[in-house]
């Protein structure tokens, strides 16, 4: 080991929670250290104990928590021996937290400037005017008009700005360690990319160290130097990012990395998945915590906890069989299922078309109407066209506020379009849901985003499915047939028949989403609209759902409209991609075409902002300035001109751009000509990679 004193080091740290009068082990036997200038990634799915560990490293525990053993050394000083009052000298001055949810972590009643200044004043024991200091700090975190922002209240800022403010607040005291608890999870990829750049620079500039807690392997690969993978409260594996992402050794790490969708995979590939779910606090296995889900578990693994061993310098692992894996004798992965073969491959005919869709949300209050200031319209969808081919998947992507969800809801009829024409299976599709026939309702179903409200908590899974089957059946159907169909549907989403009697609260998030998918397929629809179906789920669960969606499409021959902010998931599942910006489609084409040059400058920025789970892969860096403009106030000309990195000049400001055809149905709405786009984008690619 090196001679450098680590900024923070934990030795055999364990944390317990008291639940229902019993102490349960939440985090067990953690040993890790972070050296100056290093950013250490702490990765795990929900329930892995990563946030508990991060806070325990600050010696901060929930009211029902305690450190049951081990020590935490901050530059050699044991924090676990300190009282809360002693910790108050260290919190905010030597260790600072950048929280997950910036808005709720800021006091709504005080200005930004006040809240940043109070940390400094308290720790510097001074009442001096810190205004200039605060403004400098805000400028350093990339806020363009710090004087104005310092006077603002938290709710007046955008999500990205709020997160910058918490960073400024954390850094103003020049702390030694920055604990970053999923600080970009709630942000759009484009904003996330900018914030990640900021972390990297600021931590280095301030000679600090960083602990970055995240569930997102891509972000960790791009930002961190070292990474620790946690599962069920224990460290599974810890190494430098290069080692861990290139040669994952622990079966959990390997499985997690393999289950990430990669845009390069073709549509017939299934993702490798891990069976089961992470155990809850109360029923963690006695032996290796991962053994029940591990493809290479032995009897030994179930009986005995493996120790945290050092494989080689800087690479530790907790696995009984790491030597065999390391030597290449066994594979840590589950066998991948055979490829998906579709009986009916995608068709070039359109099953669904939408033309010139408009949806304005009237935000005018009665008062505005009385005073005739009727100017508050949100142009959520503003002249959007969409075409979906038979038995294919169209991915619809864009930042939040782009109108993608509204467009999807218009299609299924949950929002009523103000104008536009839609056709489904060559029949006219009314804008009003109530005007649609039973036959059309059957053909068009939806999978919702939030697994927790997708099923009625007062109906069993069986009741929910049976009701849908009966309502949407095209002919009278006997009780017996309904029950059979319920079982079939459950089987098709890999759930056993006894799930029919369960209530949603007895299901995990992934299982609820599977039932929701089964419900959508209850009546063999022609088109299923899926709105961020996996965004609330963990990586390993997401893989199961993505596979399922692929399988069902192959079996049932349905088409999907998949709405997502996660370009990797979309690219994995979709044959075609449409990119939306401020209520309009700006690019559409087949998945590969959209990913590669030429593409719309907005798409280019979106793709470049995806954090790839590969630390060696450095994409070209295109960063978008500022936030997506409000849909209340759409910029004239090309809507993207206010943020466009390839802004041409006045023409972009004044004239709506034309559609340009790049061949094979690949269309781009831009003032720049196709050839010019290719030249610009490939030149840069060659220059930077």
């Amino acid at each position: 080991m090196s001679d450098i004193q680590p900024v923070i080091a934990a030795h055999n740290l364990s944390v317990d929670y008291r639940l229902n009068k019993v102490w349960l082990n939440a985090v067990r036997d953690i040993t890790l250290h972070i050296n100056p200038l290093q950013i250490h990634g702490l990765v795990g799915e929900s329930g892995s104990g990563k946030s508990t560990l991060a806070l325990a490293l600050m010696n901060y525990l929930a009211a029902n928590g305690r450190i049951s053993s081990g020590e935490v050394l901050l530059e050699g000083d044991d924090l676990t021996q300190k009282s809360v009052n002693e910790m108050r000298q260290i919190w905010g001055s030597k260790i600072s937290l950048v929280p997950q949810d910036a808005l709720s972590s800021l006091n709504p009643s005080y200005t930004i400037g006040n809240q940043i200044a109070e940390v400094f004043q308290h720790h510097a024991k001074t009442r001096i005017n810190t205004r200039q200091l605060v403004i400098d700090m805000l400028r350093r975190v990339g806020i363009a008009d710090p004087e104005v922002v310092a006077q603002r209240y938290p709710h007046q800022l955008s999500g990205g700005m709020q997160q910058r403010v918490t960073i400024a607040m954390a850094l103003i005291t020049q702390p030694r360690l920055l604990v970053l608890d999923e600080p970009t999870t709630a942000l759009d990829v484009t904003t996330q990319a900018v914030i990640l750049d900021l972390f990297r620079d600021l931590i280095r500039d301030h000679n600090a160290a960083g602990l970055y807690v995240s569930h997102d392997l891509g972000v960790v690969a791009q930002l961190c130097d070292d990474v620790t993978v946690m599962y069920a409260g224990e460290i599974m594996e810890s190494a430098s990012v290069e080692t861990l992402f290139k040669r994952p050794t622990h079966p959990y790490t390997a499985g997690l990395l393999a289950s990430l969708p990669k845009p390069t995979q073709d549509t017939e590939t299934r993702l490798p998945t891990m069976p089961g779910v992470q155990p809850s606090l109360a029923d963690r296995p006695a032996g290796c915590v991962f053994a029940p889900r591990c493809p290479i578990a032995l009897q030994l693994c179930a009986d005995q906890k493996p120790a945290l061993e050092i494989m080689r310098d800087g690479h530790t692992i907790r696995c009984h069989r790491w030597r065999e894996i390391d030597a290449g004798e066994i594979s840590p992965l589950h066998d991948i299922d055979e490829k998906i073969t579709s009986e009916r491959p995608p068709d070039i005919d359109y099953i669904m078309t939408a033309e010139g869709m408009h949806k304005y949300f009237d935000e005018n209050t009665l008062w505005d109407r009385i005073t005739r200031r009727k100017d508050r319209y949100v142009h959520a969808v503003d002249d959007a066209d969409l075409r979906i081919r038979a038995r294919s998947t169209l991915g619809l992507v864009g930042e939040s506020g782009s109108g993608k969800t509204t467009l999807a809801r218009i299609i299924v009829g949950l929002e009523t379009a103000d104008s536009g024409k839609m056709h489904l299976l060559e029949k006219s599709l009314a804008n009003h849901l109530s005007a649609r026939s039973r036959d059309l309702l059957r053909e068009l179903q939806m999978v919702f985003q939030n697994p927790n409200d997708t099923l009625n908590p007062y109906h069993t899974v069986g009741q929910a499915l049976a009701r849908t089957i009966r309502r949407l059946s095209d002919k009278p159907i006997s009780k017996q047939q309904v029950q059979e169909r319920v079982i079939d549907l459950l089987k098709s989403v890999r759930l056993s028949a006894d799930y029919a009697d369960r209530y949603p609260e007895e299901l995990s998030g992934g299982e609820k989403q599977r039932v929701a998918i089964a419900r959508a397929f209850a009546a063999n629809p022609a088109l299923v609209v899926a709105d961020e179906p996996t965004s609330a789920l963990d990586v390993s669960v997401q893989a199961v759902i993505l596979n399922l969606l692929k399988d069902l499409r192959a079996q049932e021959g349905a088409s999907y409209l998949l709405i997502s902010h996660d370009l990797a998931a979309v690219a994995y599942l979709a044959d075609w991609i449409a990119v939306m910006y401020l209520g309009q489609i700006v690019e559409v084409g087949d998945t590969e075409d959209v990913y590669d040059a030429p593409s719309h400058p907005y798409t280019e920025a979106l793709v470049s902002a995806i954090p790839e789970p590969d630390p060696t892969l450095k994409r070209k860096q295109i960063r978008l300035d500022g936030d997506i403009p409000s849909a209340r106030n759409i910029p004239p000309g090309c809507r993207f001109h206010t943020r466009c990195p390839r802004y041409l000049g006045d023409i972009c400001k004044t004239k709506a751009p034309p559609w340009r055809d790049a061949g094979d149905g690949h269309l781009i709405r831009c003032h720049i000509e196709i050839d010019e786009l290719i030249r610009l984008q490939s030149a840069e690619e060659a220059g930077t990679v």
């Binding site: 919190w91 937290l97 949810d101 972590s105 918490t166």
Partner: protein, 314 residues
């Protein structure tokens, strides 16, 4: 903010307008011939006809309503039916003054005490003060004001004989005035106190769970800064609304309390007016009560907005 105040004022006027229609409609339903009620059983037919014309009772209902409302607005409230047919405006003004004195006395006792108790209870849920507050508010919840009032009279006026049982004041110096108002004010305070303390407690517990409190702790701020600068300000926001609502309760509760302590306030006036079927008086008194209640919620809303940038800067 100016826009907010303007909007809020306009809303207040609309609400009051609707309420005035409700009040008018309800009182118009009162059975009986008003003219006969005033003149008594022996009045001649001609006298009745004359009075009906004088009172505008022959007009269509909407006309009567508009006349009544405009009269109310300009302060022409007419005369009561009661003995001596007194002018309504000065009568109501005098009684209102008495009631407001009692109300503010009770609020001055209960607001600071309630907030303090609620804060102490909310900071340590399950602690001793919390236990006292919950037992106290539970027992108060179970006792109607007239029971509390009578018990207090029984103890302090009858058994101990240190405070007067009747609160009615004719002439009094300040000390006498406080002595007389003490029992009714305590009766009102007991109920208000439990209510305000409970709401403050809930507000404090709610705020203490929010991420910004954890953030403030992890900024290293001392506990008193966290509580008094960060938590209390936000926790008091719902309490403000509660106090405005309690004001409405206080007006209703005061009807009972005034009756228990024979205090000449607006509450007893309402009971009298209902008893005598004195429509002009009842209409006026109820409208006054409604206006004051509405003003209280207006003040609460403005205070709420002033303390809450999310509304102030909307």
């Amino acid at each position: 903010m100016a826009r907010f105040i303007l909007r809020r004022l306009l809303l207040l006027l609309v609400t009051l307008f609707v309420t005035s229609m409700i009040v008018f409609a309800l009182t118009q339903l009162l059975p009986g011939d008003v003219a006969r009620l005033i003149l008594g059983r022996e009045a001649g037919e001609q006298a009745l006809i004359n009075l009906r014309a004088e009172l505008g009772l022959n007009d269509p209902i909407p006309v009567q309503y508009i006349k009544w409302l405009s009269g109310f607005i300009v302060g022409d409230w007419g005369v009561a039916f009661g003995p001596g047919r007194p002018e309504i405006l000065p009568l109501v003004a005098e009684r209102l003054g008495n009631s407001l004195r009692l109300a503010f006395f009770a609020l001055a006792l209960s607001i600071p005490l309630g907030i303090l108790l609620g804060l102490a209870a909310g900071l340590k849920p399950g602690g001793i003060i919390d236990g006292i507050v919950s037992i106290f508010s539970l027992s108060v919840v179970g006792l109607p004001e007239f029971v509390t009032g009578l018990v207090l009279i029984n103890i302090f006026a009858i058994q101990l004989d240190i405070l007067p049982a009747s609160a009615s004041t004719t002439e009094a110096n300040l000390i006498e005035w406080i002595r007389r108002l003490l029992l009714p004010a305590i009766t009102a305070t007991l109920v208000l106190l439990g209510y305000i303390a409970r709401m403050t407690r809930a507000g404090v517990i709610d705020e203490m769970r929010k991420p910004y409190v954890r953030m403030a702790t992890l900024k290293g701020l001392p506990r008193r800064t966290i509580i008094f600068k960060h938590v209390l300000r936000n926790a008091l926001l719902p309490t403000i609304t509660i106090i405005a609502i309690s004001f409405g309760w206080l007006i209703g509760g005061i009807v009972i309390i005034e009756s228990v302590f024979s205090y000449n306030g607006i509450g007893r006036l309402i009971i009298d007016a209902v008893g005598r079927k004195d429509i002009p008086l009842l209409q006026a008194v109820v409208m006054v009560v409604v206006v004051f209640y509405a003003l209280a919620s207006l003040v609460a809303d403005l205070l709420y907005a002033a303390l809450n940038p999310r509304i102030r800067l909307e």
